[in-house]
């Protein structure tokens, strides 16, 4: 029959995927019809997230939706995936950085070198703490065992946070079995959507990043085998997915802060939180010192954030 079949694995579990990826894939399959069908698998379903990159590079999995950090891509840009502390404030920052400030080109070069096609980057939600016990000061972070992204965890450990990495699907259970004290992985929309709001009690309104950055990737050979119109269709559906998340998270974060009943909001005063922001700038320089590519990306972040500050309201307040 000649229907092209792809297996794609996302790093999200089914409940989250229902919003952040299912609609895009359904749309793709509907339009591509007999020419191509993508079968979607969820977090750890076919291969564990730790093996995801290798599986895609080798062709065991054809395409992947993930951030660079979680799937431990062997590239110099990996640390910037997921939540690079304080690199962006709003979810629109991410596409601007990629499309207008040159990150797309850097990513393309890095991934081509390891046999993987970087198709499209997009933004998700901000990174907040959801915990069993309240966090009202930096001291409250001390000793908390928290599920978070590898790089965010590295950064947060200087405040006494103990980062723990477990399979995504096991997080809710791990909070209940005492393996975790909390989660620093998402905004409040996701906490409610995936059930973490049911097992934690408090939501910290300060965030360490305004938007997650992650991408769609494919095995290089599989991508090159696609006719150009299907490549275009795939890109269009990625954009649809990015767009859906833009409004779904933006609206969701606000309405759950206002109307949500499962979690109590707490805040760390701005003056105290400024210590974390300062530490982030130091962290940026540490990362930049690791390689020329990393230095280039950090330079772009600095330039972008300086431009936004200069642009003033509504881009940056104060």
């Amino acid at each position: 029959s000649g229907t092209i079949k792809w297996r794609m694995q996302t790093y999200a579990g089914p409940s989250l995927a229902a919003h952040v990826i299912d609609p895009a894939i359904e749309m793709f399959n509907k339009i591509a019809g007999d020419r191509m069908q993508i079968e979607l698998f969820y977090a750890d379903q076919l291969v564990p997230t730790g093996e995801l990159f290798r599986a895609m590079q080798k062709g065991t999995i054809d395409a992947v939706q993930s951030d660079d950090d979680s799937m431990a891509s062997p590239t110099d840009v990996t640390v910037f995936g997921g939540y690079f502390p304080f690199a962006s404030r709003y979810s629109l920052d991410v596409p601007v950085l990629f499309n207008q400030y040159g990150l797309n080109e850097i990513w393309d070069e890095e991934y081509s070198a390891v046999g993987v096609k970087h198709i499209s980057a997009g933004a998700w939600d901000p990174c907040h703490f959801a915990t069993k016990d309240p966090i009202r000061s930096l001291a409250d972070l001390k000793g908390k065992r928290v599920f978070t992204f590898p790089t965010a965890g590295r950064f947060l450990s200087q405040f006494g946070v103990v980062p723990v990495t477990l399979p995504w699907e096991d997080i809710e259970v791990a909070v209940q079995t005492g393996e975790l004290d909390g989660i620093a992985w998402s905004g409040i929309t996701e906490d409610y959507t995936v059930g973490w709001a049911d097992v934690t009690n408090y939501f910290l309104t300060n965030n360490i990043s305004g938007a997650w950055a992650g991408s769609f990737f494919a095995n290089m050979d599989r991508w090159n085998e696609l006719p150009e119109d299907l490549q275009t269709l795939f890109r269009v559906c990625c954009d649809q997915s990015h767009y859906y998340r833009q409004w779904w998270y933006w609206g969701g974060e606000a309405s759950l802060r206002v109307d949500g009943t499962k979690m109590q909001l707490t805040s760390i005063p701005d003056a105290e939180w400024a210590q974390v922001e300062e530490a982030a700038l130091k962290f940026w320089d540490e990362i930049a010192a690791e390689s020329p590519t990393k230095a280039k990306v950090v330079e772009i972040f600095k330039k972008y954030n300086a431009d936004m500050a200069k642009a003033g309201r509504p881009y940056r307040y104060g």
């Binding site: 093996e51 065991t60 096991d170 259970v173 209940q176 079995t177």
Partner: protein
């Protein structure tokens, strides 16, 4: 090949391989590997290994060796002897009292170990000879021990529920609590039955005449023995339920507590210690290799679309009522329980059924309890049952296989009643976890 044929081929090939008597993990793993190489396309050969990485990340598996070790310390060091003596002197004077005491013993033993085999071993070595010597009816006695040992995986800690929790992605703590009331309810039903039956037919379980001779001080000392398992249970469960320690940490504390108890009671020798350690490796490896093979099999089965085919069959094509589907699934477990061991059945079949149960709108914690009881029924029912053969192997020669077959009938009846009650009133299982975890 269509998805339906792939499902049929993989499942059929696995059954044939199992029937040859090859080691379960080899049979399952080979079928998964062959299908991966033949049908997956690029990179399929990596799936069996990536299952090993997946297994490594399943942290609750760390509890397996701990609970297995606990069970061995308990049965090998004969820690349960005093417990049995306690029930002996306290319950002996009643008609059927020793049998009732054996069920109570099984409840306590269940609270200290995660598998039903340990209960079976303790029941068969300690209780069985004594009951027969005291003139209890042999078909009554073997039934009591088999039924009692089935509580092992229902009362926490439970290895089967840990595995189920990982597959269904449900909290272990809640599942364990969900097993408590049904486990105690089943024990109570067993006890009612024994009491009633022996009241009507005292010759089945004659009261002991000499039990009154034991001095009161000795009776009180023996009562103290009953506190031991409760203390081990508490050392493990109190920090866990309070959130001071995590599940896997608690399992290590439980294993250590059992070891310390056996040393303090002067029941631990180097030879016993070595046997426990060696047997723990043997049984843990058995479990882990089956899980490894089944995870690989499952990923291939899923990636080739066979899971979707099964979903289709149950939900779309047959178009059955959710309850009918549920009962069909339970029946298929009883059928498969005649030849698959519980780990293999859980790791292969549960991943197919659990998503379906969820789609049908049933509670997965509740289903975990149903599943556990159903497999226990499966292992007790003739003609083939895991527990039946274990019983046969452990029982003295005067107990025939026929006796064992007949002995389980009333007890299986009670378990079916318990199952029906829990299906009709899910709160029997769900009340405790909801009360404790509900905020």
């Amino acid at each position: 090949m269509s998805q339906e044929y792939i499902a049929l081929f993989m499942f059929g090939a696995m059954m044939v391989m199992l029937l040859t008597g090859q080691r379960v993990f080899g049979a399952i793993g080979a079928v998964g590997a062959i299908a991966a190489l033949a049908l997956w396309g690029t990179g399929g050969q990596d799936i069996p290994f990536s299952a090993a990485m997946k297994l490594m990340k399943w942290y609750p598996l760390l509890t397996l060796p701990m609970f297995i070790f606990m069970g061995y310390v308990l049965s090998e060091s004969r820690l349960a002897d005093d417990l049995y003596r306690m029930f002996h002197v306290w319950m002996g004077p009643v008609n059927g009292g020793l049998a009732i005491g054996t069920i109570a013993l099984m409840v306590l033993v269940s609270a200290m170990n995660g598998l039903s085999v340990a209960g079976m071993a303790i029941g068969a070595t300690i209780a069985l000879p004594e009951l027969l010597r005291r003139g209890y009816d042999k078909t009554m006695v073997t039934g009591v021990i088999q039924a009692g040992s089935s509580l092992g995986i229902l009362v926490p800690p439970s290895v089967v529920l840990v595995l189920y929790a990982m597959i269904a992605r449900q909290p272990v703590g809640q599942l364990w609590l969900a097993g408590v009331v049904p486990g105690l309810m089943m024990a109570a039903l067993f006890i009612c039955y024994i009491w009633l039956r022996c009241r009507l037919q005292p010759e089945l379980g004659p009261a002991m005449k000499d039990a009154g001779d034991v001095p009161r001080a000795e009776k009180m000392r023996l009562l103290w023995a009953g506190a031991l398992p409760l203390m081990i249970f508490a050392a493990m469960m109190v920090p866990f339920v309070n959130g001071w320690t995590s599940l896997v940490e608690s399992s290590a504390i439980g294993a250590l507590a059992a070891l310390v108890a056996s040393v303090l009671k002067r029941r631990m020798t180097w030879a016993i210690f070595e046997t426990c350690t060696k047997q723990t490796l043997a049984i843990s490896c058995m479990f882990m290799w089956i899980i490894l093979a089944a995870l690989g099999f499952g990923a291939v089965f899923d990636g080739l679309g066979a899971v979707k085919a099964i979903d289709n069959l149950f939900t779309d094509q047959l178009g059955l009522d959710p309850w009918v589907i549920l009962i069909l699934m339970q029946l298929s477990f009883i059928l498969m329980g005649t030849f698959l061991d519980d780990t293999a059945m859980l790791v292969i079949v549960a991943p197919l059924y659990v998503p379906l149960v969820k789609v049908l709108g049933f509670d997965l914690i509740w289903y975990g309890v149903l599943y556990t009881i159903t497999t226990q029924i499966a292992y007790m029912t003739p003609p083939f049952g895991y527990n039946l053969f274990l019983m046969r192997a452990m029982a003295p020669p005067e107990v025939s296989l026929n006796d064992i077959y007949r002995s389980i009938i009333p007890f299986v009846g009670i378990m079916v009643v318990a199952l029906a009650l829990i299906m009709a009133f899910p709160q029997i299982a769900l009340w405790l976890p909801q009360t404790i975890y509900g905020q």
